[in-house]
């Protein structure tokens, strides 16, 4: 299959990345050559193969539902590009 420009713009929308109109052509070319490469997998019949979801022979551990830290609001807010004393600040979302 091939990816057209409209499809790429749609995927970019899903990924929340704005795409520069001037770059759409080269992006389309690159992605199509990558997908052509990826689609070699279609040569293989995998009908009877179980998908590999974990390479470890162990299931994920569970832990006790206990609080192990807290009171670190300042540390968490420290790197925010926009904040007040208590919250992250984002552009207005409710009119």
């Amino acid at each position: 299959m091939s990816l057209d420009k409209e499809k790429i713009k749609h995927v970019a929308k899903l990924a929340r990345i704005s795409v520069d109109e001037a770059k759409v052509d080269s992006l389309t070319k690159d992605l199509n050559s990558i997908f052509k490469f990826i689609e070699q997998l279609n040569e293989l019949n995998t009908d009877k193969v179980e998908p590999l979801t974990s390479i470890l022979n162990q299931s994920l551990r569970s832990r006790k539902d206990e609080i192990s830290d807290g009171k670190i609001r300042e540390k968490i807010l420290k790197n925010s590009p926009k904040k007040n004393e208590e919250f992250f600040v984002v552009p207005k979302v409710v009119e």
Partner: protein, 485 residues
């Protein structure tokens, strides 16, 4: 003393412990080297003041019982370091100062080492040449026109140029082994789960693994011992007893069975790589190992599988960069969605955006089965190839890369040709296995070439032992002219 930085980590440790040199003097030597090597662009951040302070602290009260007593270390800028900027080679994290320390770096500091600086890498570890870094490409000390490999290119360059006695990188598809091969150094990707992923900027969580990059195999065993270990904070960390890789390092490999996979002889591979492989086989055979021909029939599908699995996981991991909680935020856009879109568009570089788009597409409704599920199935077949082979052999010998270091700019316009660099390293990540890249020879241009030893899961000791015996008998020596200083 002036040549101390030429030496291996284990030799330097001896000098520290016998007080032939103080930690402060050692640190000053490295700082001098780093300041003279700005042309290589290996460092994103240096922490000289803190390093000197830590060195003095060590000298005042030396603890020589530790694995890394008084050793300054630079690490890849993908490891979060408390109160030291951590960028992952990206504009989107250019102002990010973690309030916590990654488990792996904390393990190094707990073993007596301290931070010298943060090393450049491909943006979010996505690249094979260190050309995708927001902070510019790194130069290979082997030649001023050559890439140092990637993504741990700052690490390989700094190590080969004597700017750090050893270092650590991360390897998602070859990012430790390929740069090690390009610079004539030793690089180990451990078994998935051996080193904690906690506090490492995530790329593809089912593949990412931290590991050592060093000048010798012995150094590699010391670093692995220091950095590995169970961590409750990583849900895929393996809970097992800690091993003394350095104490148990042996060069007797008599009777070990070494598999030679026929699928690793690819079309258009330079003759020199084939010859190097032959040389490696002969060395191991002369040491009493038995060579066995094996087949890993799905090898050719490893890269296409990787380029579905890794971008899929990356698109999910990188969704966190939204310009709200940390990192770069665009000032453009009239609402929240536009703020997200502009932040991510301005904050990420082209290769990262490309991979996020691939990942988003293969996970999107209607395409998931055709791509992602298919890739998970082929990943099972690739793992099974290795499982089957390891019933017959102790380790597998292959070339590390299909070429030596290439020229800066040579592959940047063709993503697929760049991806093909990882053809021999990627299968190991998909199967979660350990693999060691060893410097083994030079091509006709005089550039280093590496051989790779692949082991069973958690069989690091065995491949280190084979590597150790190989190193003693290979006669490889990295002689780099310091043209940059």
């Amino acid at each position: 003393m002036s040549n101390i930085t030429n030496q291996s980590l284990s030799e330097i440790l001896k000098s520290i412990k016998s007080k032939k040199i103080s930690s402060l003097e050692l640190t000053q030597e490295y700082i001098k080297n780093i300041e003279n090597a700005k042309k290589l662009n290996a460092f994103v951040t240096t922490t000289f003041d803190k390093a000197l302070e830590n060195a003095k602290k060590f000298d005042n009260k030396p603890n020589n019982e530790q694995l890394l007593s008084g050793i300054p270390l630079a690490v890849k800028d993908l490891f979060c370091t408390e109160n030291v900027k951590t960028t992952a080679g990206s504009n989107i994290l250019n102002n990010f100062v973690p309030s916590y320390e990654s488990t792996v770096t904390k393990n190094l500091w707990n073993n007596g080492a301290f931070l010298l600086g943060k090393l450049n890498c491909d943006e979010f570890a996505m690249g094979s040449s260190n050309e995708t870094s927001f902070f510019g490409n790194v130069i290979n000390p082997i030649g001023d026109h050559l890439v140092p490999g990637g993504s741990s290119g700052g690490s390989s360059s700094a190590l080969a140029a004597d700017l750090t006695p050893a270092t650590i990188g991360t390897d998602t598809g070859g990012s430790i082994r390929q740069p090690a091969s390009f610079t004539g150094t030793v690089g180990l990707k451990p078994t998935y789960g051996l080193c904690s992923r906690w506090g490492i900027v995530a790329f593809a969580s089912s593949l990412d693994q931290a590991g050592p990059m060093t000048k010798t195999v012995n150094d590699c065993s010391i670093m692995l011992e220091a950095m590995s270990g169970f961590d409750d904070k990583d849900s895929t960390s393996i809970n097992k007893k800690k091993e003394s890789y350095s104490k148990n390092l042996k060069d007797n490999i008599k009777g070990l069975k070494i598999g030679i996979p026929k699928e690793y002889r690819v079309d258009n591979m330079p003759k020199e790589i084939d010859e190097l492989w032959e040389k490696g086989k002969k060395i191991l055979k002369d040491l009493g190992a038995q060579l066995i021909d094996i087949s890993l029939p799905h090898t050719k599908y490893a890269l296409p599988t990787y380029y579905i699995v890794a971008p899929a996981e990356a698109s999910s991991n990188l969704a966190r960069y939204d310009g709200v909680r940390y990192g770069y935020r665009s000032q453009k856009g009239k609402d929240l969605i536009e703020m997200y879109e502009n932040t991510r568009s301005e904050g990420f570089g082209d290769e990262v955006k490309r991979r996020i788009l691939i990942g988003t597409y293969v996970l999107s409704s209607g395409y998931y089965d055709a791509y992602y599920l298919k890739a998970q199935k082929v990943r099972q077949l690739i793992k099974k190839d290795f499982d089957d082979s390891f019933t017959k052999v102790d380790a597998i010998l292959t070339p590390s890369t299909p070429s030596s270091a290439f020229k800066i700019g040579e592959k940047t316009n063709d993503p697929v040709s760049m991806y093909l660099n990882d053809i021999f390293t990627v299968p190991v990540n998909l199967a979660g296995l350990p693999a060691l890249s060893l410097p083994a020879g030079l091509d006709k241009q005089g550039y280093p070439l590496g051989l790779q030893l692949i082991g069973k899961a958690l069989d690091e000791q065995k491949i280190l032992n084979i590597g150790y015996a190989f190193e003693k008998n290979c006669g490889y020596k990295n002689e780099i002219k310091k043209w940059w200083s």
